[in-house]
């Protein structure tokens, strides 16, 4: 499946789901409604882009959810009370993320194990910083997340912005191409003289940056934090990347697709809730939507391959 085609399916799934949601709940078809539908998808989109950076280099990150929770706790406490210390903690955390990437490459460790271990570290740190739910969102992030731009609601503007930035960063720069190449053929990259340790550290560092942004945005929406606030993001972000046309291997990812994937997942939850589906069925139904999209993708891929063989 070529890159241009890769993006069509996520867009189509989002459009179909959006049409169905508007049909079920016409009230959603407004400035106010769109914002309510999608504003909680903004931090999910950021976490998904973070996960995409890791999947891009053929690894998987099981600590995204706890990392975002940790950042949320820092944002609601230090970043609000002592902005300088808060910013330093966040920078240190991002550096920590990069260091983990370097360590994984240096010692040839399985990322799935290291990040699973790190998820407990981040979770523990979050509880240390905020033992009981609370804290206050800094005014500036609250202002940003509740801003009401003319014509298009904040949630949509933010999603487009995230998609464009991630796209330019990964698809349009030479370093972005290099990072994707690590996922595609790491050995070739190493043989042509690049340091894999540095590249992996860069990919993980980028994931840390987007993860931190996700936590900060989340607190801007919720107004305060909780050490368990974003645990779901780990699985949501992986699903978002795959739903958006990414693949687990080969550096084949799509930043725009990842953002659309995150929006689709968030919308799927609302759609099922509007359908008044019993919660017992909701997890299953969300899974069914995922499987449906993936099987459509598989069908496309197969017919493409057939076409390729015939030519």
């Amino acid at each position: 499946m070529n890159a241009r085609f890769r993006i069509l399916l996520p867009i189509a799934s989002l459009a179909v789901l959006l049409a169905a949601t508007f049909y079920m709940q016409p009230r959603a078809m407004s400035y106010f409604g769109l914002n309510l539908l999608f504003n909680l998808a903004v931090p999910i989109a950021l976490a998904t882009v973070a996960q995409m950076m890791i999947i891009m280099v053929n690894d998987i990150d099981l600590s995204v959810g706890t990392f975002v929770s940790f950042v949320a706790c820092v944002t609601a406490t230090y970043l609000n009370d002592a902005p300088l210390i808060g910013a330093l903690i966040l920078l240190a955390a991002i550096a920590g993320y990069a260091a983990i990437g370097a360590l994984i490459e240096l010692r040839q460790l399985p990322a799935i194990v290291v990040t699973l271990g790190m998820s407990f570290v981040w979770g523990g740190l979050a509880i240390l910083i905020l033992p009981s739910p609370g804290g206050t969102a800094p005014t500036w992030i609250r202002t940003i997340m509740t801003v009401k731009p003319p014509l298009v609601p904040m949630a949509i503007v933010a999603s487009v912005l995230i998609a464009v930035i991630a796209h330019l960063l990964i698809m349009r720069t030479s370093s972005g191409a290099l990072l994707r190449a690590v996922g595609g053929n790491a050995r070739a990259v190493a043989r042509s003289g690049w340091s894999l340790v540095r590249l992996k550290a860069a990919a993980y560092g980028l994931a840390g940056v987007f993860g931190a942004a996700s936590g900060i945005c989340l607190v801007g929406l919720t107004t305060s934090a909780d050490a368990n606030i974003a645990l779901r993001y780990t699985l949501l972000s992986i699903a978002g990347v795959i739903l958006g046309g990414g693949e687990f291997t080969g550096g084949r990812i799509s930043p725009v697709g990842a953002v659309i994937g995150a929006l689709t997942l968030a919308l799927a939850g609302s759609f099922l809730s509007f359908m008044r589906l019993s919660p017992d069925w909701q997890i299953g139904a969300q899974g069914a939507i995922l499987i449906l999209v993936l099987s459509v993708r598989l069908l496309f891929a197969r017919s493409n391959r057939k076409k390729g063989a015939a030519q």
Binding site: G33, T222, L231, G269
Partner: protein
């Protein structure tokens, strides 16, 4: 307060208050946002909501009382659920929250859209929402007070605590400590964590018993009384007064003991039907009544006299329940004013 006493208080209040009712709520729609349904207490809570809500709808008091439970017990998901409810155009949202703080943004959105928000059990800190809270401290204090009435000479108590590090455990413990301070004829001779589970409590009590002097009473947090009784029986000791927590197995054991040797105790907990109290409070606010932002849930106390009745109405593996009426809600509101 017993149900009978409670109702007489209601009657008194109803007689003294002018008839409240300023607006018509028959076209108002109320939604329940619930974060978890995985235990018997929550199941009973949802059943009570459905029963009373459907009744209110068919009586024409309100237009809808829909219950929604998130598929995972996560604050972000519940925030999204609340935002969906805003879109669905509900007039009031009743919440049992996954987090006291992480929903505040979504709740502020709801308030901004002119929606009445009432939280109960798992309450929220957002100032625009109403809170129906449980006074866990009082729950601990009342246990010691009851024992003080029953045991004139005082003596040693065994305290069974809940899950370490959880807010509820700290609160009940603080209440018990306060009760013991007020009644200095008692001393806490031992303290174990029963984790609100009969099997854990039984093991913990069996472990500490050999090191303890004679025990006259056991104060508990609910879900642990039956296990304690089994452990004490196995150690060959006389059964002290064990304060129970309204679980079916506890009440069954109590009834057996009562029939065999006239055993007397009391049992208290929060009824899952508190969801229906929240429903009526929301209805009252929509009705235009003046309601203070902080209300307190009355305890459901089972006494020697009401044991058979409670036992009969409680399904196996569940906890004693009571559904609240509109008048009960008015009484709770009046008490808080």
């Amino acid at each position: 307060m017993s149900k009978a006493k409670f109702l007489s208080a209601v009657a008194l209040v109803a007689a003294t208050l002018p008839a409240a009712g300023f607006a018509d709520t028959s076209d108002k729609r109320i939604a329940l946002s619930n974060n978890y349904a995985g235990n018997s207490w929550r199941q009973a809570m949802l059943e009570s909501w459905a029963k009373i809500g459907d009744q209110a709808v068919s009586d024409g008091v309100i237009a809808a009382a829909d219950a929604f439970t998130t598929s995972e017990n996560q604050a972000t998901e519940q925030a999204a659920q609340i935002q969906n409810m805003i879109l669905q155009g509900y007039d009031a949202i009743v919440i049992n929250a996954a987090s006291p703080t992480a929903l505040n943004g979504a709740i502020a959105e709801a308030c901004g859209a002119g929606i009445t928000v009432v939280s109960f059990d798992g309450i929220v800190t957002e100032p625009c929402a109403w809170r129906i809270a449980v006074d866990f401290k009082e729950m601990g204090r009342q246990q010691v007070e009851y024992l003080a009435e029953r045991i004139e000479d005082g003596g040693n108590l065994l305290e069974i605590r809940g899950l370490a590090g959880v807010f509820v455990d700290d609160e009940i413990h603080a209440g018990i400590a306060q009760g013991v301070e007020e009644n200095d004829k008692f001393t806490i001779a031992g303290e174990v964590n029963g984790d609100w589970a009969q099997d854990v409590a039984q093991k913990a009590v069996a472990g500490i018993l050999p090191s303890l002097p004679e025990i006259v009473g056991v104060v508990t947090q609910g879900g642990d009384g039956y296990g304690a009784a089994q452990a004490i029986k196995a150690a060959g000791r006389d059964t002290p007064i064990i304060v129970l927590g309204n679980r079916k197995d506890e009440m069954q054991w109590w009834a057996e003991q009562r029939d065999a040797n006239g055993y007397e105790t009391m049992s208290l907990s929060i009824a899952p039907g508190v969801s229906t109290l929240a429903l009526w409070v929301a209805q009252q606010i929509l009705d235009g009544a003046e309601v203070p932002k902080d209300l307190t849930v009355p305890f459901l106390t089972v006494t020697q006299d009401t044991l058979d009745e409670a036992l009969e109405s409680t399904p196996d593996g569940s906890v004693a329940n009571v559904e609240y009426s509109l008048d009960d809600a008015k009484a709770v509101i009046a008490e808080a004013q």
